[in-house]
Symmetry: C2
């Protein structure tokens, strides 16, 4: 994909082609609590999957969903989705703490499961999910959207695999988000439901670290949470950060927060900085602030070049087609189960170990 | 300095004016081991100080210095600088581990001391310096150049004081440097002399954190060092990072390294990202990579604006004039002694506490 001048050819295949014919891979959607379900469903459909049922206990959510996906069949009960023998996968963005319980039922029904991130919120859930995957031989796939559904992150991953920055030493991730508290449902502020900030939006960061650094395991060596500015929502962590060390000696630092200011053009100035032995890459995922440049900016500096690239419209989102093929062919090209679960495990551990910081420590000292 | 649209006026006083007449403030330079001495001396001269003696045991270093500062008088012995009754300050960029010993002699001779960063390398040196400052009533000032002598950092500090991002919550600093190993003197690779990476180039980062966050004290909660790619120089840390928590509950993460790749236009892509309750600032100190933009780029996003600014030629470097006036007037406007020493203390502690990471942990596990 790279010539010797470090220039990237735009791949001939700009967007993920449909990997199967209509009806070859059928799935349903159940649990529409998080808007990510729209990205999950459209990603699968664009890659060739056929949407069958949609289910949510809230008719308003179903009605809204049907406006975007009018061919979906509203199911009257969850059991209708589970008992269906045609669908091969169920996608869900239900409340985070309930994702695992649904997944167990989905796998027991003989289907693969595709959960929004974070895929689960406790180590007990993780253990039950791991056992169920083995028992049923089904997948518990996860929508780590900030890498899988962001073209600049996909391109950066390809560049790293091509060796343009040598061996990866460190990944720094910044994941600021806009709070917009009045628009959020109640469960968004209940820690046992969303899992805490390091488990919730931190899961993207840890998944990216493991992926870009090629690490299969890591240790959370420090993690912190705070509620700096939202006393009305005591269950909210509005800030969190963590340091990890991988088993191969690479490191990770990430910060996540709910402090995106009003004037930013988008919901968050997500960045990833990947340091290698022979160069570095910066991803400006959703905005190249202070310029007219939009999303999906990738910057590369190595021994040959210092350049800015737009990834928009180049490499597409191969994850979805690969996931469909993995389900059909019993492979693991999209993402290994071990990787999906390791990211989940580490974000739960980061949250469990987190030291609470913030203004309240003024009284108690450090 | 700011109007209500968040626009910054270019200050009328673009560069630091001379704060005193020729001969009002005389200083000498002793110890030319680090090139920072050129910035220290020119900063003082531009602010009105008069250079008298230059001393270094190496005649070649003195000869080179005289090419830039031809009015300096070469001293034949260090004692000539110390015994001089005219100079009020001695500036030094001698070997890091020797800076304190020289400083004690300078203060004993009745002069202020202006050391390159890091100003000292051990907690024992720190204690002796603190005692000497009290005993002599002289200053042990420090050239934390990456904030004091970088216009974008000076401008960012003014913006933060103006409250444009609300209350500072966190400072992230990236301080990559180009190694250029063949050009470095032997002491550069001897840890007891340069102090380790967190003490050496990490000192800039900790000083910036304390300054931008308005913290008077902090705790190093995690620090790491590695030698990833320089086995021929086992005393070199080519990577280091750390997390700090301030006594007011703000946090800091910084990474320093010697991995600047060849194609970068300058020695390092130094960045500072300052998160506040109501916005954030990014400083791209030495390059705005992938653009024609040069050094001193400041980006501001808050509730009113998302913009990129050039700080070049705007605010100058007020530190030097303030330091001269502080010496003349017995004030602490440039930097408090407590702040200069606290940054030094924390960078030594970060180094002392550092966990060694890197490829070698593959054998020993985490």
């Amino acid at each position: 994909m790279k010539n010797k001048d470090g220039m990237y050819y735009v791949p001939a295949q700009k967007k993920a082609a449909k990997v199967c014919a209509a009806g070859d891979f059928i799935f349903s959607a159940a649990g529409l609590d998080h808007g990510h379900i729209y990205g999950m469903v459209s990603g699968l459909i664009n890659a060739g999957a056929t949407l069958k049922y949609v289910y949510d206990p809230d008719p308003a959510k179903v009605a809204a969903f049907l406006k975007t996906f009018p061919t979906a069949v509203p199911a009257s009960r969850e059991a209708q989705v589970l008992d269906d023998k045609e669908a091969q996968l169920v996608a869900s963005a239900c409340v985070t703490s309930e994702r695992c319980a649904l997944g167990l039922k989905v796998m027991d029904s003989g289907k693969h499961y595709f959960a929004d991130k974070a895929p689960l919120t406790t180590l007990e859930q993780l253990e039950s999910a791991q056992k169920k995957v083995i028992a049923t031989d089904k997948k518990y796939a996860v929508y780590y959207s900030e890498r899988l559904h962001v073209e600049s992150a996909v391109l950066a991953g390809m560049m790293i695999k091509d060796g343009v920055i040598g061996q990866v030493l460190q990944v720094i991730g910044l994941g600021p988000h806009r709070l917009n508290a009045p628009t959020r449902p109640a469960w968004f502020f209940e820690k046992e439901k969303y899992g805490g900030i390091l488990c919730d939006i931190g899961s993207h960061q840890i998944e990216q670290y493991l992926y870009f650094a090629g690490e299969e395991d890591a240790q959370v060596v420090r993690s912190q949470i705070a509620n700096y500015k939202n006393p009305a929502h005591p269950g909210l962590d509005d800030f969190g950060d963590a340091m990890l060390v991988g088993q191969n000696g690479t490191t990770n630092y990430f910060r996540v927060d709910w402090f995106t200011p009003d004037a930013l053009r988008t919901w968050g100035d997500g960045r990833t900085m990947i340091l290698g032995t022979d160069g570095y890459i910066e991803i400006r995922k959703y905005a190249d602030i202070g310029t007219d440049g939009g999303a999906d900016t990738v910057l590369l500096v190595n021994h040959e070049t210092e350049k800015k690239m737009s990834a928009a419209g180049t490499v597409g989102f191969p994850f979805f087609g690969e996931l469909i093929l993995d389900c059909l062919n019993h492979t693991e090209r999209a993402m290994t189960q071990a990787h999906a679960f390791k990211a989940a495990e580490l974000c739960i551990k980061a949250q469990l170990q987190a030291v609470r910081i913030g203004p309240e420590i003024r009284d108690g000292g450090l």
